[in-house]
């Protein structure tokens, strides 16, 4: 009979109930979006981290860094704790009489670490090809396909220009060669100047730093503080912004539901009076109206989950070209928030209406 009463009541005033459900749904949709976007947070972090390494490994003073000590880094890649890393050997060489800065690296790894590097031509695919920084290419007049020879006091290597590198940064003042070629020029095989790496998740940087420092006692592990802090700040601000807006929208929704329920309860004072005259105790009347509010909260919560999912998908697709799978957590949050807002907004007006003596209401007062 309870369900019968509730169904009859809701269908009789369907437009008012629909407004209340929509108010709840709109209020619920933003928190649902926030929770739904958790699935794309990893994408967001990756997006931010595409702008450079956030881990730097350099030899301690008086020590050297060796390629053989990079096994832990390979394991971290396999464990998906690191996105990428690139070993680097820096030295000074000469092209003709002019001094040039040379950096040796593994190009396939550098490409993973710096996907935003703009290469005019092609990335080198063997150890006789080089990437020329744009400023050096302009100074020497090099273009892709040109030959050049780099000399050091210990050795010399003949190279072909595979591409011209544009980054907007100091890389444009360097020549990038294969690590083997750089080690030949330096006259020391397996030696490194530094290793640059990028953690998959910023929040793991402290643990990664500790692990690397422990495995490489002759090295210092540094995090470029500005980059890390920027990521944390941006993510944190985005989340706080979404939560703040959610709170405001939720508050507005609660007010809308409160106003709708208060008006509805006022209209239904006579009905409350009749129920009490028929022998319904005050708590029973409150429970009946509260059940109606829960119904509105349930429908509003489900609608809000749907709206939130659509909004999360739209944001994820626009920003990250990724899709967000529906999450149980988002559904649960939507239902809890919807039920809470609806019930909280209704109980006050209902209790007040139920407290008025039926003899007063039935007199038409």
């Amino acid at each position: 009979m309870t369900l019968r009463i509730l169904w009859a009541s809701i269908t009789y005033r369907r437009s008012r109930v629909a407004v209340a459900c929509l108010a709840v749904a709109l209020g619920v949709s933003l928190p649902a979006t926030v929770v739904g976007l958790r699935g794309v947070q990893a994408e967001f972090e990756r997006g931010l981290q595409a702008y450079g390494a956030n881990l730097l490994i350099v030899p301690r003073s008086g020590s050297s860094l060796d390629e053989g000590s990079l096994a832990l880094l390979n394991r971290m890649i396999a464990e998906a704790r690191l996105e990428a890393y690139a070993p680097v050997l820096t030295l000074m060489g000469r092209i003709g009489e002019r001094r040039v800065a040379v950096a040796g690296t593994r190009f396939s790894q550098a490409r993973d670490l710096y996907p935003w590097w703009n290469v005019e031509g092609a990335w080198p695919e063997n150890n006789t090809a080089a990437l020329i920084g744009a400023n050096i290419a302009a100074k020497f007049g090099y273009r892709p396909g040109d030959a050049l020879t780099v000399r050091t006091p210990r050795s010399s290597v003949s190279l072909r220009v595979a591409g011209v590198l544009r980054t907007g940064g100091t890389e444009e003042n360097q020549i990038f060669v294969d690590l083997d070629a750089a080690q030949t020029l330096a006259g020391r095989s397996t030696v490194l100047s530094l290793v640059q790496a990028r953690a998959r998740r910023s929040r793991e940087l402290p643990s990664l730093t500790e692990a690397l420092a422990g495995a490489m006692p002759d090295a210092e592990v540094r995090t470029p503080l500005q980059v890390v802090k920027s990521e944390e700040v941006i993510l944190g601000r985005l989340q706080r912004l979404l939560l703040l807006v959610s709170g405001v929208v939720l508050g507005a929704a609660a007010l809308a539901v409160f106003a709708t329920m208060a008006a509805a309860v006022l209209e239904r004072r006579r009905e409350v009076g009749v129920m009490k005259a028929l022998g319904a105790e005050e708590n029973r009347v409150v429970r009946l109206f509260a059940s109606e509010a829960l119904g509105i909260g349930l429908v509003g919560g489900l609608l809000g989950f749907g709206f939130g999912l659509l909004l999360a998908e739209a944001i994820a697709w626009q920003v990250f070209s990724a899709l967000v799978p529906p999450s149980i957590l988002s559904l649960l949050v939507s239902l809890v928030v919807g039920l809470g807002v609806s019930l909280g907004a209704s109980l006050g007006p209902v209790r007040r209406a139920a407290g008025v003596p039926s003899v007063v209401v039935l007199r038409g007062e």
Partner: protein, 244 residues
């Protein structure tokens, strides 16, 4: 006099400490009796009915209904007592607009114990509404709505029926129909208290009490006849006054 089902002594009801709606009213109602409470507007008829119905509490005095001193009950106990003992019929019908006739009757069962659709349907058939079970109040005439209200008042087999101007909003045809139902209930032994300002309606009761400005003037011993369709109504009244 048969056993009393209602004993009200020195009932007084004041509002805001100033307006005295009832002034030391004493009345007894026997089980199975039909008592009409009569008087002009503002005389305290509905106030008296509301006190007996446990919808309100007296400022002073006592009411004992079916052996229970209801004036001393708290609100929850009065609600329970009303639910179990009393059936109320209002002038404005007071049906729930979004429920059908059947569901309105089931509502009274729902608050009492358990809704029984078959029993509710039977109650509506008894008042001649077998073809209106699934109609909402907006789809029913005034007389039909009042019949639904009567069925609702009777569904839990109350010991007492209280009716406040049950024909006040009805035309003469529907009024006759409703009064016919009351006469049948009375013939079945139902105790009825009926508020009316209409002497023709009051004339159908066993006894009438008259209120004026909250005080009781009792009228009893009426010559009356039941009236049928198209029959001109008329009656002769005896008056005996008992100052309150």
């Amino acid at each position: 006099m048969a056993e009393s089902i209602i004993t009200a002594r020195d009932l007084t009801k004041e509002y805001n400490g100033k307006l005295r709606a009832l002034d030391r009213v004493t009345v007894e109602v026997a089980r199975g009796e039909w008592l009409a409470i009569m008087g002009p507007s503002g005389s305290g008829k509905t106030t008296l009915l509301n006190l007996i119905a446990c919808l309100d509490i007296p400022t002073s005095g006592s009411i004992v209904v079916d052996g229970v001193p209801v004036h001393a009950l708290g609100e929850q106990d009065r609600t329970r007592f009303r639910r179990d003992t009393i059936g109320i019929i209002f002038q404005q019908f007071h049906l729930i607009l979004y429920l059908t006739a059947l569901e309105n009757v089931m509502l009274a069962q729902y608050f009492h114990s358990m809704a029984d659709e078959a029993e509710a349907a039977e109650a509506l058939v008894r008042v001649g509404l077998s073809d209106r079970l699934h109609h909402r109040p907006s789809q029913l005439s005034g007389g039909e709505q009042q019949r639904v209200a009567i069925a609702r008042a009777l569904i839990n087999q109350p010991k007492l029926i209280l009716a406040d101007e049950p024909t006040g909003n009805l035309d003469s045809e529907n009024e006759a129909m409703i009064l016919d139902i009351f006469q049948k209930l009375h013939a079945d032994g139902q105790t009825i208290l009926l508020v009316t300002h209409d002497p023709l309606v009051g004339g159908l009761a066993d006894r009438r009490i008259f209120l004026d400005h909250g005080r009781l003037v009792e009228i009893s011993g009426t010559d009356h006849h039941t009236f049928g369709e198209g029959e001109r109504r008329g009656h002769i009244l005896h008056h005996s006054f008992s100052p309150g």
